[in-house]
Assembly symmetry: C2
Homo-oligomer: 297 residues x 2
Protein backbone atom coordinates (compact mmCIF):
# COMPACT_ATOMS: atom_id res chain seq x y z
CA UNK A 1 0.00 0.00 0.00
CA UNK A 2 1.10 3.62 -0.52
CA UNK A 3 2.30 5.87 2.28
CA UNK A 4 -0.51 6.41 4.83
CA UNK A 5 -0.68 10.14 4.13
CA UNK A 6 -1.19 9.52 0.42
CA UNK A 7 -3.75 6.78 1.21
CA UNK A 8 -5.69 9.14 3.47
CA UNK A 9 -5.52 11.93 0.88
CA UNK A 10 -6.80 9.65 -1.86
CA UNK A 11 -9.64 8.28 0.22
CA UNK A 12 -10.54 11.73 1.51
CA UNK A 13 -10.89 12.89 -2.08
CA UNK A 14 -13.16 9.94 -2.89
CA UNK A 15 -15.36 10.81 0.12
CA UNK A 16 -15.31 14.57 -0.60
CA UNK A 17 -16.30 13.99 -4.23
CA UNK A 18 -19.14 11.69 -3.22
CA UNK A 19 -20.39 14.18 -0.60
CA UNK A 20 -20.20 17.06 -3.09
CA UNK A 21 -22.09 15.04 -5.68
CA UNK A 22 -24.71 14.00 -3.19
CA UNK A 23 -25.31 17.44 -1.74
CA UNK A 24 -25.59 19.02 -5.19
CA UNK A 25 -28.13 16.35 -6.18
CA UNK A 26 -30.52 17.51 -3.44
CA UNK A 27 -33.39 19.52 -4.80
CA UNK A 28 -35.99 21.73 -3.23
CA UNK A 29 -34.30 22.37 0.11
CA UNK A 30 -34.70 25.96 1.34
CA UNK A 31 -31.38 27.70 0.44
CA UNK A 32 -30.71 28.67 4.09
CA UNK A 33 -30.79 25.09 5.27
CA UNK A 34 -28.85 23.75 2.28
CA UNK A 35 -26.10 26.36 2.84
CA UNK A 36 -25.91 25.67 6.58
CA UNK A 37 -25.66 21.92 5.92
CA UNK A 38 -22.89 22.39 3.33
CA UNK A 39 -21.04 24.91 5.49
CA UNK A 40 -20.19 22.36 8.16
CA UNK A 41 -20.00 19.35 5.85
CA UNK A 42 -17.24 21.06 3.84
CA UNK A 43 -15.43 22.78 6.71
CA UNK A 44 -12.23 20.75 6.44
CA UNK A 45 -13.11 17.44 8.10
CA UNK A 46 -10.46 14.71 7.97
CA UNK A 47 -13.14 12.17 6.93
CA UNK A 48 -11.70 9.68 9.40
CA UNK A 49 -14.96 7.78 9.93
CA UNK A 50 -15.87 7.28 6.25
CA UNK A 51 -12.26 6.32 5.49
CA UNK A 52 -12.44 3.72 8.26
CA UNK A 53 -15.60 2.34 6.66
CA UNK A 54 -13.84 2.08 3.28
CA UNK A 55 -10.71 0.52 4.79
CA UNK A 56 -12.72 -2.07 6.76
CA UNK A 57 -14.63 -2.92 3.63
CA UNK A 58 -11.28 -3.56 1.92
CA UNK A 59 -10.08 -5.66 4.86
CA UNK A 60 -12.95 -8.11 4.32
CA UNK A 61 -12.53 -7.99 0.54
CA UNK A 62 -15.59 -5.98 -0.38
CA UNK A 63 -16.03 -3.95 -3.58
CA UNK A 64 -15.48 -0.29 -2.52
CA UNK A 65 -18.10 1.26 -4.80
CA UNK A 66 -21.12 -0.07 -2.90
CA UNK A 67 -20.00 1.05 0.52
CA UNK A 68 -19.39 4.70 -0.32
CA UNK A 69 -22.95 6.00 0.32
CA UNK A 70 -22.85 4.46 3.81
CA UNK A 71 -19.44 6.03 4.46
CA UNK A 72 -20.93 9.39 3.44
CA UNK A 73 -23.99 8.87 5.64
CA UNK A 74 -21.73 8.32 8.66
CA UNK A 75 -19.89 11.57 7.87
CA UNK A 76 -23.25 13.38 7.78
CA UNK A 77 -24.05 12.01 11.24
CA UNK A 78 -20.63 13.03 12.53
CA UNK A 79 -21.09 16.53 11.10
CA UNK A 80 -24.54 16.94 12.66
CA UNK A 81 -23.09 15.98 16.05
CA UNK A 82 -20.38 18.65 15.76
CA UNK A 83 -22.92 21.36 14.86
CA UNK A 84 -25.15 20.52 17.84
CA UNK A 85 -22.20 20.08 20.24
CA UNK A 86 -20.95 23.57 19.39
CA UNK A 87 -24.30 25.28 20.17
CA UNK A 88 -24.41 27.89 22.96
CA UNK A 89 -26.54 25.58 25.14
CA UNK A 90 -23.92 22.83 24.80
CA UNK A 91 -20.17 23.49 24.45
CA UNK A 92 -20.70 27.07 23.23
CA UNK A 93 -17.76 27.01 20.80
CA UNK A 94 -17.10 29.86 18.38
CA UNK A 95 -14.48 28.08 16.29
CA UNK A 96 -13.95 24.60 14.93
CA UNK A 97 -11.17 23.53 12.57
CA UNK A 98 -10.08 27.17 12.38
CA UNK A 99 -13.38 28.55 11.10
CA UNK A 100 -16.45 29.95 12.80
CA UNK A 101 -18.92 27.36 14.05
CA UNK A 102 -22.20 26.87 12.23
CA UNK A 103 -24.43 28.90 14.55
CA UNK A 104 -21.94 31.83 14.54
CA UNK A 105 -22.39 32.09 10.76
CA UNK A 106 -25.93 30.86 10.12
CA UNK A 107 -27.64 31.60 13.43
CA UNK A 108 -28.85 29.13 16.02
CA UNK A 109 -32.15 28.19 14.37
CA UNK A 110 -30.49 27.26 11.08
CA UNK A 111 -27.67 25.44 12.91
CA UNK A 112 -30.09 23.29 14.93
CA UNK A 113 -32.13 22.53 11.80
CA UNK A 114 -29.04 21.87 9.64
CA UNK A 115 -27.94 19.31 12.24
CA UNK A 116 -31.40 17.74 12.27
CA UNK A 117 -31.41 17.67 8.47
CA UNK A 118 -27.94 16.07 8.19
CA UNK A 119 -28.89 13.35 10.67
CA UNK A 120 -32.13 12.61 8.83
CA UNK A 121 -30.47 12.76 5.41
CA UNK A 122 -27.99 10.10 6.53
CA UNK A 123 -30.84 7.61 6.88
CA UNK A 124 -32.27 8.71 3.55
CA UNK A 125 -28.95 7.97 1.82
CA UNK A 126 -28.70 4.52 3.41
CA UNK A 127 -32.17 3.56 2.16
CA UNK A 128 -31.94 5.06 -1.33
CA UNK A 129 -33.15 2.45 -3.83
CA UNK A 130 -30.40 3.47 -6.27
CA UNK A 131 -27.92 2.39 -3.59
CA UNK A 132 -29.56 -0.56 -1.92
CA UNK A 133 -31.35 -2.30 -4.79
CA UNK A 134 -28.19 -4.29 -5.65
CA UNK A 135 -27.49 -5.17 -2.01
CA UNK A 136 -28.84 -7.64 0.52
CA UNK A 137 -31.57 -5.55 2.19
CA UNK A 138 -31.31 -7.54 5.44
CA UNK A 139 -27.62 -6.57 5.76
CA UNK A 140 -28.49 -2.94 5.02
CA UNK A 141 -31.15 -2.93 7.76
CA UNK A 142 -28.68 -4.50 10.18
CA UNK A 143 -26.05 -1.84 9.39
CA UNK A 144 -28.57 0.99 9.81
CA UNK A 145 -29.65 -0.49 13.13
CA UNK A 146 -26.04 -0.62 14.28
CA UNK A 147 -25.37 2.97 13.22
CA UNK A 148 -28.55 4.35 14.79
CA UNK A 149 -27.70 2.65 18.10
CA UNK A 150 -24.19 4.11 17.97
CA UNK A 151 -25.48 7.58 17.12
CA UNK A 152 -28.41 7.79 19.53
CA UNK A 153 -28.99 7.86 23.27
CA UNK A 154 -27.30 4.47 23.84
CA UNK A 155 -24.21 5.87 22.07
CA UNK A 156 -23.06 9.29 20.91
CA UNK A 157 -26.01 11.36 22.18
CA UNK A 158 -25.77 9.64 25.58
CA UNK A 159 -22.03 10.35 25.68
CA UNK A 160 -22.57 14.01 24.87
CA UNK A 161 -25.22 14.27 27.60
CA UNK A 162 -22.83 12.71 30.13
CA UNK A 163 -20.05 15.04 28.91
CA UNK A 164 -22.18 18.17 29.38
CA UNK A 165 -23.28 16.96 32.82
CA UNK A 166 -19.72 16.18 33.97
CA UNK A 167 -18.50 19.74 33.37
CA UNK A 168 -16.97 21.20 36.52
CA UNK A 169 -17.48 17.98 38.48
CA UNK A 170 -14.95 15.60 39.97
CA UNK A 171 -15.02 12.41 37.85
CA UNK A 172 -13.10 9.13 37.96
CA UNK A 173 -11.47 7.28 35.07
CA UNK A 174 -14.44 4.96 34.47
CA UNK A 175 -16.70 7.98 34.02
CA UNK A 176 -14.27 9.56 31.54
CA UNK A 177 -14.08 6.25 29.69
CA UNK A 178 -17.89 6.08 29.58
CA UNK A 179 -18.04 9.54 28.02
CA UNK A 180 -15.32 8.79 25.48
CA UNK A 181 -16.53 5.33 24.44
CA UNK A 182 -20.02 6.75 23.90
CA UNK A 183 -19.41 10.27 22.60
CA UNK A 184 -16.61 9.40 20.16
CA UNK A 185 -16.00 5.66 20.29
CA UNK A 186 -19.47 4.40 19.40
CA UNK A 187 -19.67 6.05 15.97
CA UNK A 188 -16.03 5.20 15.15
CA UNK A 189 -16.75 1.56 16.00
CA UNK A 190 -19.95 1.65 13.93
CA UNK A 191 -17.98 3.08 10.98
CA UNK A 192 -15.59 0.14 11.09
CA UNK A 193 -18.35 -2.44 11.62
CA UNK A 194 -20.40 -1.00 8.76
CA UNK A 195 -17.53 -1.56 6.33
CA UNK A 196 -17.06 -5.11 7.55
CA UNK A 197 -20.75 -6.01 7.44
CA UNK A 198 -21.42 -4.44 4.04
CA UNK A 199 -18.33 -6.22 2.70
CA UNK A 200 -19.73 -9.56 3.78
CA UNK A 201 -17.35 -10.18 6.69
CA UNK A 202 -17.91 -13.21 8.93
CA UNK A 203 -19.16 -12.82 12.48
CA UNK A 204 -15.60 -13.34 13.75
CA UNK A 205 -14.26 -10.73 11.34
CA UNK A 206 -16.85 -8.22 12.57
CA UNK A 207 -15.87 -9.01 16.18
CA UNK A 208 -12.21 -8.30 15.38
CA UNK A 209 -13.14 -5.07 13.62
CA UNK A 210 -15.30 -4.04 16.58
CA UNK A 211 -12.39 -4.54 18.94
CA UNK A 212 -10.20 -2.48 16.59
CA UNK A 213 -12.87 0.25 16.45
CA UNK A 214 -13.36 0.42 20.22
CA UNK A 215 -9.64 0.75 20.91
CA UNK A 216 -8.78 3.30 18.21
CA UNK A 217 -11.85 5.25 19.27
CA UNK A 218 -10.56 5.51 22.81
CA UNK A 219 -7.00 6.30 21.64
CA UNK A 220 -8.38 8.97 19.31
CA UNK A 221 -10.21 10.73 22.10
CA UNK A 222 -7.35 10.47 24.60
CA UNK A 223 -5.04 12.10 22.06
CA UNK A 224 -7.69 14.74 21.43
CA UNK A 225 -7.64 15.50 25.15
CA UNK A 226 -3.80 15.53 25.20
CA UNK A 227 -3.67 17.90 22.22
CA UNK A 228 -6.12 20.19 24.01
CA UNK A 229 -3.49 20.50 26.75
CA UNK A 230 -0.24 20.67 24.81
CA UNK A 231 -1.10 21.04 21.11
CA UNK A 232 -0.38 24.12 18.98
CA UNK A 233 -3.37 26.35 18.30
CA UNK A 234 -2.34 27.15 14.71
CA UNK A 235 -2.08 23.45 13.88
CA UNK A 236 -5.28 22.43 15.67
CA UNK A 237 -7.47 25.27 14.43
CA UNK A 238 -9.15 25.55 17.82
CA UNK A 239 -8.21 26.91 21.19
CA UNK A 240 -5.84 24.98 23.46
CA UNK A 241 -6.52 24.60 27.17
CA UNK A 242 -10.27 25.02 26.74
CA UNK A 243 -11.11 21.65 28.35
CA UNK A 244 -9.30 22.48 31.59
CA UNK A 245 -10.74 26.01 31.64
CA UNK A 246 -14.22 24.55 31.36
CA UNK A 247 -13.72 21.73 33.87
CA UNK A 248 -14.24 19.04 31.18
CA UNK A 249 -13.87 15.36 32.02
CA UNK A 250 -10.66 14.31 30.24
CA UNK A 251 -7.96 11.64 30.43
CA UNK A 252 -5.12 14.12 31.18
CA UNK A 253 -7.33 15.66 33.86
CA UNK A 254 -7.66 12.30 35.60
CA UNK A 255 -4.45 10.45 34.69
CA UNK A 256 -2.01 13.22 33.80
CA UNK A 257 -0.34 13.74 30.40
CA UNK A 258 2.27 10.95 30.47
CA UNK A 259 -0.03 8.21 31.71
CA UNK A 260 -2.64 9.34 29.14
CA UNK A 261 -0.12 8.99 26.30
CA UNK A 262 0.89 5.53 27.51
CA UNK A 263 -2.76 4.50 27.67
CA UNK A 264 -3.36 5.73 24.11
CA UNK A 265 -0.28 3.81 22.89
CA UNK A 266 -1.53 0.66 24.57
CA UNK A 267 -4.94 1.01 22.90
CA UNK A 268 -3.27 1.53 19.50
CA UNK A 269 -1.24 -1.66 19.97
CA UNK A 270 -4.34 -3.61 21.00
CA UNK A 271 -6.15 -2.25 17.95
CA UNK A 272 -3.40 -3.39 15.61
CA UNK A 273 -3.15 -6.84 17.15
CA UNK A 274 -6.89 -7.40 16.75
CA UNK A 275 -6.45 -7.21 12.96
CA UNK A 276 -4.26 -10.33 12.63
CA UNK A 277 -6.81 -12.45 10.80
CA UNK A 278 -6.97 -10.04 7.87
CA UNK A 279 -3.26 -10.16 6.93
CA UNK A 280 -2.09 -7.60 4.37
CA UNK A 281 -5.63 -6.47 3.56
CA UNK A 282 -5.75 -4.70 6.91
CA UNK A 283 -2.54 -2.78 6.23
CA UNK A 284 -4.51 0.50 5.78
CA UNK A 285 -6.43 -0.05 9.04
CA UNK A 286 -3.17 -0.72 10.89
CA UNK A 287 -1.54 2.39 9.46
CA UNK A 288 -4.62 4.48 10.32
CA UNK A 289 -4.28 3.24 13.91
CA UNK A 290 -0.62 4.32 14.02
CA UNK A 291 -1.55 7.61 12.36
CA UNK A 292 -4.13 8.25 15.08
CA UNK A 293 -1.46 7.53 17.71
CA UNK A 294 0.94 10.02 16.13
CA UNK A 295 -1.48 12.77 15.12
CA UNK A 296 -0.72 16.38 15.91
CA UNK A 297 -4.18 17.76 15.08
CA UNK B 1 -66.87 0.68 13.07
CA UNK B 2 -67.35 2.23 16.54
CA UNK B 3 -67.82 5.95 17.11
CA UNK B 4 -64.71 7.86 15.97
CA UNK B 5 -63.93 9.09 19.47
CA UNK B 6 -63.93 5.53 20.82
CA UNK B 7 -61.87 4.39 17.83
CA UNK B 8 -59.31 7.14 18.46
CA UNK B 9 -59.21 6.35 22.20
CA UNK B 10 -58.67 2.65 21.55
CA UNK B 11 -55.91 3.23 19.03
CA UNK B 12 -54.28 5.87 21.21
CA UNK B 13 -54.11 3.31 24.00
CA UNK B 14 -52.49 0.77 21.68
CA UNK B 15 -49.88 3.34 20.64
CA UNK B 16 -49.33 4.60 24.20
CA UNK B 17 -48.82 1.07 25.50
CA UNK B 18 -46.36 0.27 22.72
CA UNK B 19 -44.43 3.50 23.34
CA UNK B 20 -44.34 2.86 27.10
CA UNK B 21 -43.13 -0.69 26.54
CA UNK B 22 -40.50 0.42 24.09
CA UNK B 23 -39.14 3.26 26.22
CA UNK B 24 -38.93 1.06 29.31
CA UNK B 25 -37.03 -1.56 27.30
CA UNK B 26 -34.21 0.92 26.58
CA UNK B 27 -31.18 0.24 28.73
CA UNK B 28 -28.07 2.19 29.51
CA UNK B 29 -29.29 5.65 28.50
CA UNK B 30 -28.11 8.40 30.88
CA UNK B 31 -31.13 9.09 33.17
CA UNK B 32 -31.23 12.78 32.17
CA UNK B 33 -31.69 12.01 28.49
CA UNK B 34 -34.13 9.15 29.11
CA UNK B 35 -36.27 11.42 31.32
CA UNK B 36 -36.20 14.27 28.82
CA UNK B 37 -37.21 11.91 25.99
CA UNK B 38 -40.09 10.45 28.02
CA UNK B 39 -41.23 13.86 29.25
CA UNK B 40 -42.25 15.01 25.78
CA UNK B 41 -43.21 11.60 24.44
CA UNK B 42 -45.81 11.22 27.21
CA UNK B 43 -46.97 14.84 27.38
CA UNK B 44 -50.47 14.22 26.10
CA UNK B 45 -50.04 13.83 22.34
CA UNK B 46 -53.15 12.86 20.36
CA UNK B 47 -51.10 10.21 18.48
CA UNK B 48 -52.70 11.33 15.22
CA UNK B 49 -49.79 10.24 13.03
CA UNK B 50 -49.38 6.70 14.40
CA UNK B 51 -53.17 6.23 14.37
CA UNK B 52 -53.17 7.27 10.70
CA UNK B 53 -50.50 4.64 10.04
CA UNK B 54 -52.62 1.98 11.74
CA UNK B 55 -55.80 3.06 9.95
CA UNK B 56 -54.10 3.08 6.53
CA UNK B 57 -52.72 -0.36 7.23
CA UNK B 58 -56.30 -1.52 7.93
CA UNK B 59 -57.54 0.15 4.74
CA UNK B 60 -55.24 -2.04 2.63
CA UNK B 61 -56.04 -5.11 4.76
CA UNK B 62 -52.76 -5.48 6.62
CA UNK B 63 -52.30 -7.26 9.95
CA UNK B 64 -52.05 -4.43 12.56
CA UNK B 65 -49.41 -6.07 14.79
CA UNK B 66 -46.55 -5.66 12.35
CA UNK B 67 -47.07 -1.99 11.65
CA UNK B 68 -47.09 -0.79 15.25
CA UNK B 69 -43.30 -0.24 15.67
CA UNK B 70 -43.33 1.97 12.57
CA UNK B 71 -46.30 3.93 13.90
CA UNK B 72 -44.35 4.46 17.14
CA UNK B 73 -41.23 5.51 15.23
CA UNK B 74 -43.23 8.21 13.46
CA UNK B 75 -44.52 9.49 16.80
CA UNK B 76 -40.91 9.71 18.03
CA UNK B 77 -40.02 11.80 14.99
CA UNK B 78 -43.05 14.04 15.54
CA UNK B 79 -42.13 14.47 19.23
CA UNK B 80 -38.52 15.37 18.42
CA UNK B 81 -39.75 18.03 16.00
CA UNK B 82 -41.95 19.61 18.67
CA UNK B 83 -39.08 19.73 21.19
CA UNK B 84 -36.73 21.43 18.71
CA UNK B 85 -39.45 23.79 17.39
CA UNK B 86 -40.13 25.04 20.93
CA UNK B 87 -36.46 25.92 21.62
CA UNK B 88 -35.59 29.56 22.38
CA UNK B 89 -33.70 29.89 19.08
CA UNK B 90 -36.79 28.70 17.18
CA UNK B 91 -40.38 29.42 18.31
CA UNK B 92 -39.34 30.07 21.93
CA UNK B 93 -42.46 28.51 23.43
CA UNK B 94 -42.85 27.99 27.19
CA UNK B 95 -45.96 25.81 27.02
CA UNK B 96 -47.24 23.02 24.82
CA UNK B 97 -50.41 21.00 25.44
CA UNK B 98 -50.84 22.86 28.72
CA UNK B 99 -47.50 21.85 30.23
CA UNK B 100 -44.04 23.42 30.22
CA UNK B 101 -41.97 22.74 27.11
CA UNK B 102 -39.03 20.35 27.31
CA UNK B 103 -36.26 22.94 27.58
CA UNK B 104 -38.15 24.83 30.32
CA UNK B 105 -38.06 21.68 32.47
CA UNK B 106 -34.89 19.86 31.40
CA UNK B 107 -32.74 22.72 30.14
CA UNK B 108 -31.72 23.50 26.58
CA UNK B 109 -28.85 21.03 26.28
CA UNK B 110 -30.99 18.07 27.37
CA UNK B 111 -33.87 19.24 25.16
CA UNK B 112 -31.69 19.44 22.05
CA UNK B 113 -30.16 16.04 22.81
CA UNK B 114 -33.52 14.44 23.68
CA UNK B 115 -34.78 15.58 20.28
CA UNK B 116 -31.70 14.19 18.56
CA UNK B 117 -32.09 10.93 20.48
CA UNK B 118 -35.80 10.52 19.63
CA UNK B 119 -35.10 11.11 15.94
CA UNK B 120 -32.26 8.60 15.92
CA UNK B 121 -34.21 6.07 18.00
CA UNK B 122 -36.99 6.15 15.40
CA UNK B 123 -34.61 4.71 12.82
CA UNK B 124 -33.36 2.15 15.33
CA UNK B 125 -36.91 0.92 15.93
CA UNK B 126 -37.62 0.61 12.22
CA UNK B 127 -34.53 -1.56 11.68
CA UNK B 128 -34.84 -3.74 14.78
CA UNK B 129 -34.38 -7.37 13.74
CA UNK B 130 -37.14 -8.46 16.14
CA UNK B 131 -39.49 -6.26 14.11
CA UNK B 132 -38.25 -6.60 10.57
CA UNK B 133 -37.13 -10.23 10.41
CA UNK B 134 -40.65 -11.36 9.48
CA UNK B 135 -41.14 -8.59 6.92
CA UNK B 136 -40.00 -7.90 3.36
CA UNK B 137 -36.78 -5.94 4.00
CA UNK B 138 -37.06 -4.13 0.65
CA UNK B 139 -40.45 -2.70 1.69
CA UNK B 140 -39.03 -1.69 5.07
CA UNK B 141 -36.14 0.16 3.38
CA UNK B 142 -38.60 1.89 1.05
CA UNK B 143 -40.75 3.02 4.00
CA UNK B 144 -37.73 4.32 5.92
CA UNK B 145 -36.61 6.20 2.83
CA UNK B 146 -40.04 7.77 2.50
CA UNK B 147 -40.16 8.77 6.17
CA UNK B 148 -36.63 10.22 6.19
CA UNK B 149 -37.44 12.33 3.12
CA UNK B 150 -40.62 13.58 4.79
CA UNK B 151 -38.82 14.36 8.06
CA UNK B 152 -35.66 15.97 6.69
CA UNK B 153 -34.71 19.07 4.74
CA UNK B 154 -36.92 18.17 1.74
CA UNK B 155 -39.87 17.93 4.16
CA UNK B 156 -40.49 18.86 7.78
CA UNK B 157 -37.10 20.43 8.58
CA UNK B 158 -37.30 22.50 5.38
CA UNK B 159 -40.81 23.62 6.33
CA UNK B 160 -39.70 24.65 9.80
CA UNK B 161 -36.78 26.63 8.32
CA UNK B 162 -39.16 28.42 5.93
CA UNK B 163 -41.57 29.05 8.82
CA UNK B 164 -38.87 30.62 11.02
CA UNK B 165 -37.66 32.73 8.09
CA UNK B 166 -41.15 33.95 7.21
CA UNK B 167 -41.77 35.43 10.66
CA UNK B 168 -42.69 39.10 10.43
CA UNK B 169 -42.55 39.07 6.61
CA UNK B 170 -45.29 39.64 4.05
CA UNK B 171 -46.02 36.24 2.47
CA UNK B 172 -48.47 35.05 -0.19
CA UNK B 173 -50.72 31.99 -0.08
CA UNK B 174 -48.30 29.79 -2.03
CA UNK B 175 -45.60 30.49 0.54
CA UNK B 176 -47.94 29.62 3.42
CA UNK B 177 -48.92 26.46 1.57
CA UNK B 178 -45.23 25.55 1.10
CA UNK B 179 -44.63 25.92 4.83
CA UNK B 180 -47.69 23.90 5.79
CA UNK B 181 -47.22 21.07 3.27
CA UNK B 182 -43.62 20.69 4.41
CA UNK B 183 -43.71 21.45 8.12
CA UNK B 184 -46.84 19.44 8.92
CA UNK B 185 -48.10 17.80 5.76
CA UNK B 186 -45.03 15.80 4.80
CA UNK B 187 -44.90 13.65 7.94
CA UNK B 188 -48.68 13.21 8.02
CA UNK B 189 -48.55 12.00 4.42
CA UNK B 190 -45.63 9.70 5.24
CA UNK B 191 -47.60 8.27 8.18
CA UNK B 192 -50.45 7.34 5.88
CA UNK B 193 -48.16 6.02 3.13
CA UNK B 194 -46.18 3.91 5.62
CA UNK B 195 -49.34 2.09 6.69
CA UNK B 196 -50.32 1.46 3.09
CA UNK B 197 -46.90 0.25 2.01
CA UNK B 198 -46.30 -1.98 5.03
CA UNK B 199 -49.78 -3.45 4.54
CA UNK B 200 -48.91 -4.44 1.00
CA UNK B 201 -51.05 -1.83 -0.79
CA UNK B 202 -50.84 -1.54 -4.58
CA UNK B 203 -49.17 1.43 -6.23
CA UNK B 204 -52.61 2.90 -6.96
CA UNK B 205 -53.70 2.39 -3.35
CA UNK B 206 -50.57 4.21 -2.12
CA UNK B 207 -51.32 7.05 -4.56
CA UNK B 208 -54.86 7.39 -3.18
CA UNK B 209 -53.54 7.32 0.40
CA UNK B 210 -50.93 9.96 -0.50
CA UNK B 211 -53.63 12.25 -1.84
CA UNK B 212 -55.64 11.68 1.36
CA UNK B 213 -52.54 12.43 3.48
CA UNK B 214 -51.66 15.63 1.61
CA UNK B 215 -55.16 17.04 1.91
CA UNK B 216 -55.83 16.15 5.56
CA UNK B 217 -52.34 17.48 6.36
CA UNK B 218 -53.23 20.85 4.87
CA UNK B 219 -56.66 20.90 6.51
CA UNK B 220 -55.08 20.00 9.85
CA UNK B 221 -52.67 22.91 9.70
CA UNK B 222 -55.27 25.42 8.48
CA UNK B 223 -57.49 24.49 11.41
CA UNK B 224 -54.49 24.80 13.71
CA UNK B 225 -54.03 28.34 12.42
CA UNK B 226 -57.75 29.10 12.80
CA UNK B 227 -57.77 27.77 16.38
CA UNK B 228 -54.78 29.99 17.14
CA UNK B 229 -57.00 32.93 16.24
CA UNK B 230 -60.36 31.97 17.72
CA UNK B 231 -59.81 28.87 19.87
CA UNK B 232 -60.16 28.74 23.64
CA UNK B 233 -56.92 28.70 25.59
CA UNK B 234 -58.15 26.26 28.24
CA UNK B 235 -59.16 23.77 25.58
CA UNK B 236 -56.04 24.18 23.45
CA UNK B 237 -53.50 24.15 26.28
CA UNK B 238 -51.46 26.83 24.56
CA UNK B 239 -51.80 30.55 24.07
CA UNK B 240 -54.21 31.93 21.50
CA UNK B 241 -53.23 34.77 19.19
CA UNK B 242 -49.54 33.93 19.41
CA UNK B 243 -49.16 33.46 15.63
CA UNK B 244 -50.43 36.95 14.84
CA UNK B 245 -48.39 38.48 17.65
CA UNK B 246 -45.28 36.90 16.21
CA UNK B 247 -46.03 37.70 12.57
CA UNK B 248 -46.30 34.00 11.64
CA UNK B 249 -47.23 32.96 8.11
CA UNK B 250 -50.74 31.50 8.48
CA UNK B 251 -53.86 30.84 6.39
CA UNK B 252 -56.10 33.22 8.38
CA UNK B 253 -53.37 35.86 8.07
CA UNK B 254 -53.49 35.63 4.27
CA UNK B 255 -57.07 34.50 3.51
CA UNK B 256 -59.02 35.56 6.59
CA UNK B 257 -60.92 33.23 8.95
CA UNK B 258 -63.95 32.39 6.82
CA UNK B 259 -62.09 31.67 3.61
CA UNK B 260 -59.61 29.57 5.63
CA UNK B 261 -62.40 27.45 7.07
CA UNK B 262 -63.90 26.96 3.61
CA UNK B 263 -60.52 25.90 2.29
CA UNK B 264 -60.07 23.38 5.12
CA UNK B 265 -63.55 21.95 4.43
CA UNK B 266 -62.73 21.59 0.75
CA UNK B 267 -59.51 19.71 1.57
CA UNK B 268 -61.40 17.38 3.94
CA UNK B 269 -63.91 16.58 1.19
CA UNK B 270 -61.13 15.92 -1.30
CA UNK B 271 -59.42 13.67 1.25
CA UNK B 272 -62.55 11.62 1.78
CA UNK B 273 -63.26 11.26 -1.91
CA UNK B 274 -59.74 9.97 -2.57
CA UNK B 275 -60.53 6.92 -0.42
CA UNK B 276 -63.27 5.50 -2.68
CA UNK B 277 -61.33 2.43 -3.80
CA UNK B 278 -61.07 1.11 -0.22
CA UNK B 279 -64.80 0.92 0.54
CA UNK B 280 -65.75 0.21 4.16
CA UNK B 281 -62.18 -0.55 5.17
CA UNK B 282 -61.40 3.15 4.91
CA UNK B 283 -64.23 4.13 7.24
CA UNK B 284 -61.78 5.01 10.07
CA UNK B 285 -59.68 7.15 7.71
CA UNK B 286 -62.79 8.97 6.52
CA UNK B 287 -63.96 9.61 10.07
CA UNK B 288 -60.50 10.81 11.06
CA UNK B 289 -60.68 13.31 8.20
CA UNK B 290 -64.04 14.61 9.44
CA UNK B 291 -62.72 14.67 12.99
CA UNK B 292 -59.80 16.83 11.85
CA UNK B 293 -62.25 19.17 10.15
CA UNK B 294 -64.32 19.51 13.31
CA UNK B 295 -61.58 19.59 15.95
CA UNK B 296 -61.57 22.19 18.68
CA UNK B 297 -58.01 21.54 19.90
Amino acid sequence: MPDIKIYLQEKKKVVDDALTGYMSSLEGNPPTIQKAMEYSLFAGGKRLRPILTLASFEAVDGDPGRVLPFACAIELIHTYSLIHDDLPAMDDDDYRRGVLTNHKVHGEAAAILAGDALLTEAFRIMTDSRVVSSMDPAVVLDVIHDISGAAGAPGMVGGQMADVEAEGKEVDISHVEYIHTHKTGALITASVRAGGKLGGGSEEAIESLSSYGRTIGLAFQIIDDVLNVEGEEEVLGKSVGSDAGRGKATYPGVLGINKSKETADAFINTAISSLKRFGDKAEPLKKIARYIGDRKK
